[in-house]
């Protein structure tokens, strides 16, 4: 479904750091892929390249046969709207929008008003992530776990093909983090492809594929351990 081939990425500030040194990853449809590794090993950078948020220096990312390095900005925006979704360690909710409005954000890019149908759909998703009855609250009035659920609902509202998650449990306590991972696992079992970066090795048990990175390279890859959770 999504292949990254020989990705090289370096950042130049005062000095040049080679963050990714030729990484090749193949994401299968329906898979729950976990990327693990030590801090600074390049996990987030790799995830951002996969989700089109970052462009590699060399190497290519191919999505359903489409070389993402060669398509227009417009097409990239379309993919971000309809195919890919991202969630982060910090939830990036708009503090002055209600839960429902936050979830509807992907629909708010048009002049035409949000349809009743989209609104109903958003309500369903909110219910799906377990926030029924809290759709009119502002994010500041929610717990961290609930806020992450809102950001998941926002990521799901346009029914994406792949969900990219960068340490979605990073700022949650263990119990809440586990709940979130279990929610993701459920969504995965309903057919959503998930690529997740995490520090916490215990979550790798939920994954179909675990990719371990070290110093900008892949140092280990384990497949098909799902179901052992």
């Amino acid at each position: 479904m999504l292949q990254a081939h020989n990705i090289v990425k370096s950042f130049t500030t005062d000095t040049t750091t080679n963050v990714l040194k030729g990484v090749t990853i193949d994401i299968q449809q329906g898979d729950f892929t976990c990327i693990v590794g030590r801090s600074g090993s390049g996990k987030s950078t790799m995830l951002n390249i996969l989700s089109t948020l970052l462009r590699p220096n060399s190497g290519n990312v191919v999505y359903n046969g489409l070389d993402l390095g060669k398509v227009s900005v417009n097409k990239i925006n379309k993919i971000r709207q309809n195919d890919f979704s991202v969630i982060f360690q910090s939830f990036h909710l708009f503090p002055y929008l209600s839960v429902l409005e936050n979830v509807l954000l992907p629909y708010l890019s048009e002049v035409t008003p949000v349809s009743k149908k989209s609104r109903a759909h958003a309500m369903q998703i909110i219910e799906r992530v377990g926030l029924k009855g809290k759709e009119d609250r502002l994010p500041g009035k929610l717990s961290g776990g609930e806020q992450q659920r809102v950001s998941i609902a926002r990521a799901l509202v346009k029914q994406p093909k792949i969900l990219f998650a960068d340490e979605p449990t990073g700022s949650l306590d263990i119990k809440t983090g586990k709940d979130i991972i279990e929610l993701l696992k459920e969504l995965n079992s309903e057919g959503l492809t998930i690529v997740m970066v995490t520090h916490a090795l215990e979550y790798t048990s939920y994954a179909d594929t675990v990719i371990e990175m070290k110093d900008g390279q892949i140092c280990g890859e384990i497949h098909e351990i799902a179901g052992s959770a």
Binding site: S44, N48, S51, L53, L54, V73, N74, N77, K78, I79, R80, Q81, N82, S85, V86, F88, Q89, S90, H92, F94, Y96, L97, E101, L104, L105, P106, Y107, L108, S109, E110, V111, T112, P113, V114, R154, A155, D166
Partner: protein
Amino acid sequence: MNILTLPLKNLKRKLLRTGILITVFTVGILSVVMLYNVSETIGHSLEKKMTEFGANILIYPKSDSLNVSYGGFSLGNLSYSVKYLSEKETNDSIRSIANKENISTVAPKLVELGTYKEQPVAVTGIIWAEEFRIKNYWALDGKMPVNPNEAIIGSRAADLLGITINSPINLGTGTVIITGILKKTGTEDDNLIFADLHSVQSLAGKQDKINFIEVAALCSGCPIDDIVAQIQSKLPNTDINALQNIVKQRMSTINYVKRLVLMVSVVILVIACFMLSMFMLASVNERKKEIGLLRAIGYSSSKIFIIFGFEAMIIGIFAGVLGYLGGYVSSVQLLSRIDIEGTGHILFDPALMATATLFVAVLSVLSAALPALKATKIQPTDVFSQI
């Protein structure tokens, strides 16, 4: 809910900021509108005063001897062999020049000697309606002439000659009857008798003849030199004396004031734009993460521009409407206070308000353009990697 929800919510959320921006812009527009209205009105009123002061162009027959001028018109002068102009030809010529729209009044005159109790008096034939337009300071004791053989007399002439209402003046083949005495004007009018031009002509046997003609040209930036040249080419056998310097001086004062007003207005607007720009820039910096998130969920850079541009535009629209209304009200107030004529000239013009509002809206979007462009450059990874 649509793309305008975000900018609207932000304006509402930052009510104080929104209020300050709208206020600053409103004050800017208000002063522009007010200064403009006031300077226009004062300009109009000065212009009107200029014509009230009298004619600014004097046309008389070419003379090789002594210049016969209105001020110097004494009885003695009339003993020279006086030349005449044709009333009809002169009038038609003046009324048909290229700048004829600027000609407000054409007042021909014929001066004839008459007698009252054997004393010589000068009777000036005038066209009442035209004369009143350039001499609306005239005030009368008695009544206005209604019949062709009725006349009025200047106060000094009346005193010196002992003429009163109903005194008959012998003129040519007949008489004219005084019906009114002019109140003191301080001009040579005090020394004269005025009667209907066509009566004077027929009594004196000088049909269609006039001595000179006074013209009032309305000159809101009109080329007085051109008007003189146009009349001169139509009437080559005349001398034309334009009170150009006075006209020019007044026009240049008005133009100077208008230029000053324009400059002040531009400065105010530039400051308002600058402030909006700074506020928007702060807003963009403050909302970097939001912008990054929007880009990550597929908002194009032009959508980001629209969000910030629209925010600025709403401020502009509010300021445009409030500023125009405020400017209108305050200029009417101000002008009524300093008691200048022509306050009624300030019209409330919805089309002008719409234009002003559109102008401010465009101006505010332009002011927000740089910060908004900056916003479009923000990439998700720029703002997410520093967490």
